[in-house]
């Protein structure tokens, strides 16, 4: 057993005979401390008058400012970290704008044929087919919208749909990509893509896309057969329960879900569509897809 573990009684060093040199030195130093005066009678009287009063505080030193700044910084960092952990907003509230590229190329919609005929709706309406190259960018889509104001595909055979489907503005389409990327769980891609974009595209960051624009762009992409991007754009945006486009949007989402392998959700959407619009323009196709 080591010496410091013994529990034998001791005597104070000051009264111990035969101390070692180190112990004698320690005893002398402790004597110096013992003889130190603590408080004078005047000081004790002064303290006695202060009992029960708030203690006087040391003056503010130069590092108080640093400490306050440090606390403020820590609070700000904690706030930022907390914000980063919040769930992703739905695409309608996406805040980054990325210019479209070829991945968002929209295949030309097949010109719908009028029932029992060989003319397209555009031809029937006296409008020529859009000229020039096929639209492969948002600008192209916008040109197509201008050229075909009332010849949106399927518009003529959807009884409840308006004659013209509103098309997302180019700004909205530019905002599609990050939202789609987030929805597809490729969380790192939007950051890298954003960094690749030119400054003007980044300058629009922070804007939210109105839900109606998201729905319009979704319908447009779905019609063009770009189901993957259409669903990515749609994300968690709720479909309208009523309205002229409610049935068509529901059908499109179900069709696209099936096309991208999300069978359960797709079948559910198509079943809902049939339940709500048993005589809708897409009812036959919905039944065929469900089979």
């Amino acid at each position: 057993m080591s010496a410091d573990r013994r529990n034998v009684p001791l005597r104070p060093w000051s009264r111990t005979e035969g101390k070692t040199a180190a112990e004698a030195e320690a005893a002398a130093l402790l004597d110096a401390l013992r003889s130190a005066e603590t408080l004078s009678d005047e000081a004790l009287a002064r303290v006695g008058r202060r009992i029960g009063q708030p203690r006087r505080h040391a003056p503010v030193g130069p590092r108080w400012g640093l400490a306050a700044a440090g606390l403020a910084s820590a609070f700000a960092v904690a706030l930022v970290l907390r914000t980063d952990r919040e769930p992703l907003p739905p695409p309608a509230a996406a805040t980054r704008a990325i210019a479209p590229d070829d991945r968002f190329a929209v295949a030309p919609p097949a010109a719908p044929r009028l029932l029992g005929g060989s003319r397209t709706a555009a031809e029937a309406a006296g409008l020529g087919a859009p000229e020039g190259p096929l639209p492969s960018t948002a600008a192209g889509l916008e040109r197509q919208r201008i050229a075909m104001p009332s010849a949106a595909p399927r518009a003529t055979r959807h009884a409840a749909a308006p004659a013209e489907r509103s098309v997302a503005a180019p700004q909205a389409l530019r905002l599609e990509r990050p939202a789609a990327e987030k929805a597809m769980r490729r969380m790192d891609a939007p950051e890298a893509l954003l960094a690749e974009q030119p400054a003007p595209a980044r300058a629009t960051a922070g804007r939210a896309i109105p839900p109606e624009d998201v729905l319009s762009a979704f319908a447009r992409l779905a019609d063009a057969g770009n189901c993957r991007d259409a669903l990515g754009l749609l994300g968690a945006t709720a479909l309208p329960a009523t309205g002229a486009d409610a049935g068509r949007l529901l059908f499109d989402r179900g069709r696209c879900r099936l096309a991208t392998g999300r069978r359960a959700g797709g079948r559910q959407d198509l079943a809902d569509y049939l339940a709500r619009f048993p005589r809708g323009p897409d009812a036959g196709e919905a039944r065929a897809l469900l089979r």
Binding site: R6, E23, L29, L30, L44, I51, G61
Partner: protein, 182 residues
């Protein structure tokens, strides 16, 4: 609502104890304990004021199960511990310039005597700073206050056997610290 003055004047249930009477009898003891437990950086006046403010607040709850000096010592030790923690933080905030200012010699002492005494006190204080709170308390009570082992054990709330073990270790640690600061 009773004022602080009224409360301080109100006698406790036991032996007519009042804050004033306790202060008159034990203020110097409390100041000495605080200075020895807290080291040279402790604001002894503040510690004494806080101790007796606590005494005033808790005198009605003092049941007399422990000796008055034991009760006062435990309050003093708690106050010193709290103040030492607070002072360490404040010393950092004040910065090195004000730390240096606090080390200036006290007025009224000759420079030579002051320097020697200061060196000795600083050295033993620095060595005591390196001990744990329990070890420092044991050394202060046993070596400086000249209390018996039983009295020290009572004030610290430990058994006498444990106190001897604690003291053996505290002495060994103190000697090591002094050797390091040689």
């Amino acid at each position: 609502m009773t004022t602080a003055a009224e409360r301080s004047a109100a006698p406790a249930d036991r032996e007519g104890l009042t804050v004033e009477s306790i202060y008159r009898r034990h203020a110097a003891d409390v100041a000495r304990w605080a200075a020895r437990l807290g080291g040279p950086r402790l604001e002894v006046e503040d510690a004494v004021q806080e101790v007796f403010t606590r005494v005033q607040d808790h005198l009605d709850g003092f049941r007399g199960e422990a000796k008055l000096t034991t009760w006062l010592f435990r309050i003093t030790r708690n106050v010193v511990l709290r103040q030492r923690r607070r002072d360490r933080f404040r010393a950092f905030l004040r910065g090195p310039a004000e730390d240096a200012a606090r080390e200036l010699p006290a007025p009224g002492l000759s420079p030579e005597g002051n320097a020697e005494q200061r060196q000795a006190r600083e050295r033993i204080a620095r060595a005591l700073e390196g001990l744990t709170e329990r070890q420092r308390t044991a050394i202060v009570l046993f070596e400086l206050e000249d209390l018996s082992g039983e009295e020290v054990a009572e004030r610290m709330g430990v058994s006498v056997g444990n106190l001897w073990v604690l003291l053996h270790r505290a002495r060994a640690a103190l000697l090591r610290r002094l050797e390091e600061t040689r």
